[in-house]
């Protein structure tokens, strides 16, 4: 469906995407993870044929988006990170007019608009101008708008940012159903639970490069341990205790507020810690998550150039 090799995007001197390779198969749901500025949205825009690449190769359904823009875009549903609904129109008109941009007929669009308003749970806002919607409602309408042309590939750039938990779960459910119908999903997100829920396979990007690739499960087993033991000794003592716990678990991270021990068996590790005479104020054993992988790969500090 999508094949990228050496895909590169430069803005002047600055390289936003530095030669990445990936492929997405039909019906797959593919995730792009990475810290702010990693180049996720830039990659999405190149796939959606709204930004020309500056190097490498990209094929969407065997077509080059740079030379076959309109044709490629007819296959795609795009939900951009930045909302760009038509604020001068009502909800229903937004969907209808967007469908007209694709050349879809009135008779096709009339029931389609109703169906999508129901999908976005905005039936009672049908004739309300977009300006008067809440942030989450706008987001839902944007997602519905991306479906108006019944796309084979749906590109979602941070789809659930700003949604309440109910709306988030409903959206996941809808996306699952689309996936079952064979729609290919490409998603960027900052929510690791969302990535674990939605993505069959994902890449972690940082500064325009791919740091890791795989399914959520393989990434966790590859880059993290099975379990994580979190220990708190109070901000003053954490560093001091950390030095005394060498050798327990595969890896340790000392944060100002807590210690993280990456281990296979959390309970056993906790016993070992207590055995050395360090009773924590609080402790927690949990499963290792994608978030641990993410932080390990991209670091804990904010890197905003």
């Amino acid at each position: 469906m999508i094949r990228a090799s050496g895909l590169t995007k430069r803005y002047g001197e600055f390289t936003a995407v530095a030669g990445i390779d990936f492929a997405v198969a039909r019906g797959e749901s593919f995730g792009l993870l990475g810290p702010n500025g990693a180049g996720k949205s830039t990659t999405m825009r190149m796939i959606s044929a709204t930004t020309l690449r500056s190097g490498g190769d990209l094929r969407i359904l065997d077509r080059d988006p740079d030379t076959h823009g309109p044709e490629v875009r007819a296959h795609l549903g795009v939900v951009p990170q930045e909302g760009n609904l038509d604020t001068e129109l009502t909800c229903a008109e937004n969907l209808y007019v967007y469908g007209r941009y694709f050349g879809l007929s009135r008779r096709f669009l009339r029931p389609k608009v109703d169906e999508l308003l129901a999908f976005a749970q905005l039936e009672d806002k049908r004739d309300v101008k977009v300006d008067a919607l809440s942030g989450g409602m706008k987001r839902r309408l944007t997602i519905a708008r991306g479906l108006v042309n019944e796309p084979e590939i749906l590109l979602l750039d941070e789809p659930t940012t700003g949604l309440d938990p109910q709306a988030r779960h409903i959206l996941w459910d809808r996306l699952f159903r689309l996936k079952e119908q064979g729609v290919t999903l490409v998603v960027t997100t900052h929510y690791m639970d969302e990535a674990e829920q939605l993505c069959d396979r994902l890449i972690v990007m940082d500064r325009g490069r791919i740091m890791a690739e795989g399914s959520p499960q393989t990434l966790i087993s590859e880059y993290s341990s099975r379990e994580v033991l979190e220990l708190r000794y109070g901000t003053g003592r954490n560093a001091e205790v950390a030095a005394q716990l060498e050798g327990i678990g595969q890896r340790m991270e000392a944060l100002p507020d807590r210690l993280l021990l990456y281990v296979d068996d959390g309970e056993a590790a906790l016993e070992a810690v207590v055995g050395r005479g360090f009773h924590p104020i609080a402790s927690l054993v949990r499963r290792s998550s994608l978030e641990d992988v993410f932080l390990r790969l991209t670091g804990r500090s904010l890197v905003d150039e």
Partner: protein, 280 residues
């Protein structure tokens, strides 16, 4: 026979043009944008749309019938002797077409481009940059034409139209509006701030005052006349005067050619710029 309702999908529609020349910038649907603008007009204050058209009418009443009483009749070299009101009416018709065309192609386009992110959304569908350019410019032409027709409807009962050729003034006003709309959108698409747009607007005032709308150009020195002849508003006024006075000559073709160049250059640059901005 069973008739099944099968609609063409977005992909089928897009693939109809596949391989054709210009398929990467043109999908053959500028109408989609015009329809969108009609929707937006319906929900916006329609008064705003029509308010622009009264300005030239006020000029006509104040100057044509106020000042006109003092001046009497006017005669431009090569033209007939007419009342002052009849002299400025074609010029104000040209100005109506210009105002209507520029209202949409400058301020509205600037707003859509920089605040509403409108073209980002349009260009992520299977429309191309040329569809977008033609749709937006076409809408501005419709507004220019609406102003021009409104103006004609007001002045005809006043006895200021002397020839059946004046009917041709409507398509001519359309050509004028097209030229201004294309140039207006092309220029606006290169602007990055409000101030620059204000400057462009500021230049329109001297063009309006010195393009021979209010007095015959033969009062100016030769050199100044040549400069003014190069201005689009003078071209528009000269074209509409000759039609409204029923005095057709070969110069008409020159004016049409002048605007044809404006249209082609304007549409080309707008398309390029939209491509550069939104498909970068």
């Amino acid at each position: 026979m069973i008739t099944q309702l099968v609609f063409a999908s977005a992909v089928e529609i897009a693939e109809r043009r596949s391989g054709r020349r210009g398929a990467s910038v043109y999908a053959g649907r500028p109408w989609a944008l015009i329809q969108r603008n009609l929707f937006a007009l319906r929900t916006s204050n329609a008064l705003v749309f029509f308010s622009g058209f009264v300005e030239p009418v006020f000029y006509l009443l104040a100057f044509g019938f106020g000042l006109g009483n003092v001046i009497g009749s006017v005669h431009e070299a090569g033209g007939p002797r007419v009342s002052y009101a009849a002299f400025i009416a074609p010029a104000l018709l040209a100005t109506s077409a210009m105002n209507g065309a520029l209202a949409d192609s400058t301020w509205n386009v600037f707003f859509k481009m920089h605040y509403a992110k409108f073209y980002n959304a349009v260009m992520s569908t299977s429309l191309g940059a040329l569809d977008t350019a033609l749709g937006e410019i076409g809408w501005a032409v419709i507004r220019g034409l609406a102003y021009a027709i409104g103006f004609l409807a007001v002045v005809s009962p006043l006895g200021l139209v002397h020839s059946w050729w004046a009917l041709l003034a409507i398509p001519a006003a359309g050509i004028v509006a097209f030229g201004f709309a294309a140039a207006g959108m092309a220029i606006t698409s290169y602007l990055t701030s409000h101030q620059q747009l204000n400057w462009v607007n500021f230049l329109l005032l001297p063009m309006f005052l010195f393009s021979g709308a209010f007095f015959p150009l033969d009062r100016y020195p030769w050199f100044a006349q040549q400069v003014i002849h190069a201005l689009p508003l003078w071209q528009a006024i000269a074209m509409l005067r000759s039609l409204m006075f029923g005095e057709l000559d070969i110069a008409l073709l020159g004016h049409v050619a002048y605007f044809a160049v404006f249209i082609v250059v304007g549409v080309t640059f707008t398309t390029r710029r939209l491509n550069a901005l939104f498909l970068r």
